[in-house]
Symmetry: D2
Subunit: 303 residues, 4 copies
């Protein structure tokens, strides 16, 4: 299987309440993103509130998404698990439903060391039957895939690439400069860094905003690949404005990104705006700020 390149949105999870899927919303959102030209869909990541959902619900979500996507784009499923055994079980459910690859986050309760991280992920890859991506998100998991650890794992034939949400571009540069990794993909998390990561050799991104305006991000990627820096920058500026309003609040990585995305999804009539506990809905002042942003955007969806 080839590693995915381009734009792979971390799909938000439409919910009716903490333990009930919004099935119609799921279908709408999938169509919206595929129509926007995305190159894959990543479910049950941070933006997908994976860790907040019961394992039963996660399994149901995987099945529904695979059914609705009908193979038009590859589906990647997050394994954000503190328990090794739960990760194995979830990976098997993903395989049965037709997921293309899993995305492995370090176990995130204990403050672990690199040998513990390597041992966990190496064994997990042995015990599952799907290709894997690594997912680096130290602000939430408390541990980095240090470059040496990343290199050892990225050299395994089962590992297709890495998604880096650290926001640390010195680190991302170090990954890109790891030697002997042909075919591996390097996807950047924070969408504010999409353009610059592509300019130094990154191969794609996992931008939360591609739930909302997928074509903007696809345009940045396509323009950067063609060397049309002016076009790429014009969409980069839209993304900066989106991030400063829709994600505003208490810092990237917290629930502000998620509740902002859900607020806009509701405004677009795509799905409900419910976030699973502990996250809360967007409140007054931020709602107004987002409304203002959406007004300024108008019909400019990048088509």
């Amino acid at each position: 299987m080839d590693a995915v390149k381009g734009i792979v949105p971390p799909m938000a999870t439409p919910l009716l309440d903490d333990d009930t899927l919004d099935l119609e919303g799921i279908e709408n959102l999938i169509e919206h993103m595929i129509n926007g030209g995305v190159n894959g869909i990543f479910i049950l990541g941070t933006t997908g509130e994976g860790p907040s959902l019961s394992h039963t619900l996660r399994t149901a979500l995987i099945r529904h998404v695979c059914e609705r996507a009908r193979g038009r784009v590859p589906i990647l499923a997050g394994l954000i698990e503190s328990s090794f055994k739960e990760a194995v079980v979830m990976a098997e459910a993903a395989r049965e439903s037709g997921v293309h690859a899993v995305v492995i986050t370090p176990p995130f309760y204990f403050n672990i060391e690199q040998d513990e991280l390597y041992g966990f992920v190496r064994q997990l890859i042995r015990e599952i039957s799907l290709p894997a991506y690594l997912y680096n998100n130290p602000a939430l998991t408390g541990v980095y895939y240090e470059p040496e650890t990343a290199a050892r794992l990225l050299n395994l034939p089962e590992v297709l690439g890495i998604k880096d949400s650290s926001g640390n571009m010195v680190y991302f540069n170090q990954l890109l400069n790891l030697s002997g990794l042909p075919g591996v993909t390097f996807l950047v998390g924070p969408e504010q860094l999409l353009l610059e990561s592509l300019s130094i050799g990154g191969t794609g991104g996992v931008p939360g905003g591609a739930n909302l305006f997928p074509r903007w991000y696809v345009n940045i990627y396509d323009a950067a690949m063609k060397g049309d820096l002016e076009k790429a920058r014009s969409y980069h500026e839209k993304v900066m404005k989106l991030s400063e309003t829709v994600y505003s609040g208490k810092g990237y990585g917290s629930g502000n990104v998620i509740n902002g995305i859900k607020y806009v999804l509701k405004a677009m009539n795509i799905c409900n705006d419910y976030s699973a506990r502990p996250l809360l809905k967007v409140s007054g002042e931020k709602a107004e700020m987002i409304d203002g942003f959406l007004n300024s955007v108008g019909n400019d969806n990048g088509e």
Copy 2:
């Protein structure tokens, strides 16, 4: 139900591998602690590797421990969950097995705010049928129960107390000085702070070392309650030596505490020394250091 006071060990979880309980070890360990005079047993906490175990295994552990303990001491069960729904399901399993109370850790993936924390825990207490303790461990969960949030929750009749593993004694003092909380218990996590917490009004502790030498900790508690500071200090010094060897490595809160405890449990023929992934066994140099410590202790188990 009365709030527990005194020494409540966070029971280590004897394992044969990542997903198999060491049933004989569990029985041995329970008898060892109860014979040592402990005032309760806390299972599925950090030391119990709760987050590393599958939910099926956690449920089995709860049942086995309740059966073996036979009501001789109250059993407290940790709810260290990132998913609200999983927490509710686990609490119901705990109730069915005869657990006396649950111990609620904040959801630990997202970096959440106090209103999100309060909403999660408040609703959880509504939906479950057991009394609850709060468990503050910001180094692992990324969020504090700020004094004001703690006060609101500790005022609920269902909430019996708080276990604080922050190691921040300014904070612990603030908790003790919250007004209007009769009958609430204040348990300190780090055993190096047990004596001093009792000297300023704390009502007990959750020391990992009480898996190993339960009577030492019971002696500190009893001596402090009687005002026999000299005796209390003599056992405090033993605890300091234990912590500097058995827990050595990479800092409190990481796997060093757990793998050190398991190493000693095996040396005492109580149970296996396997820790669930991602944690690793004690390695060479630390093993020698612990052996030296155990030699120096000899038969001094505090009886």
Copy 3:
């Protein structure tokens, strides 16, 4: 020279503006603290805004304080310097004025390692002609005196003790359990921890609040030494109330402690309430909270 034990207030620095001493205020404050029974005075520490003052002003302050104190209590002077050379020069000025000992903070710009810290402090002690105390304040300097480093330095005959403002009582316990350090003094910084540090073997404290109510802190120390825990706790509770109002705002270690102390010093007609830049004066809501606290205290100064 004997190491100081008991209560050593970190004297606030009365100022008319950023570079002018309030000489009358200095005299008032010294008399106020000595009348309150303190065992020494520590100038140019964090509470004394040492790093905010020009070296010329620091030299003038040292001279004035030594003259006014007239040898009634030992004077300790902080060396909070990022430059080795400046530290040497300041120590010489201190010696000339009659200071009894200097208090050495790690250099605080670079993120340094233990060997760099040890080399800096070891050489500084060689080049100066006064006894020294170590001052551990990692929240502000970014580096700990790790127990092993502290032990090496505390074994030097020129080093009389350590002041620990980390607030980490596990660490403070480790210091107390260092072996072979007769005569060394262990002073705790945060006054909320004064009572408990004394209960486990600490030998004194450096409480900011002793600028205001010196007798309260002296009473805690004296009562704890005599084993009168009830009396000690009654003053501990006053200290907790003081710290929750006078130091409120943005966390211990920031300017809230300092501007709160200066606000009360002005209310007591001891000196001006000016803090050197970058610190700001107490603002509206906090001022009201402190006024309420002072009303509740009335004339209860601990005599």
Copy 4:
């Protein structure tokens, strides 16, 4: 005065010991950088060990550098001061010697808030007679110029630009997207990020490695400005190799950058390798790694 664009090395400070300048080394280093085509020289920054030097030595350094540079490139001088008064005095010394602008770091002892930061810097700009740049380095100072604070200061006519060493490219993007700041320059600190910062609109950099191979960095800048991405990337890869060897050790921002630069400067016969306390010289393994790197570079100085 126009804001500087392009490559402005943070000049290392050649020293014979903690308080003696290496005057010949200073002259050599200035010629080396100017011959390499740099657009300015920034002295007394982090790489220049500003905070480790006495104020007398800093003043002497400023004078020597201005004399030797003879106006061929603008000289910028760092004000890394915890004391407002010392900053004012140092700025006056800089003006007298012919420095073109000062570079203002936040006061770095107390953990300060934005209003305290703004007040300090705003008043400093009022009291000095030179244009200013802001210098953001939160890892060492403990405080950010938050975008709103930066915007207020960058709008002052006396403020020419900002140097950002945070390594946080989301933040750097936010700065670039601040509105209404014509003529302001945005210089990036970490040289690993030079290329990508230029690709999104940055106007220059302050790379430590430009003490060693100034032409490499000038080539990146010139190539990026002409849109020759291929040439820019080829020098970017050299810079990544330099940073992974010369700066290896304990993380950017610590002394590893500085002692690595000094080791190479000595190998190039430009100056001594002494670093002021607390920093230490390069030790065995790192020395070998750097030797290997220098061998691989050979005569490739970018000309």
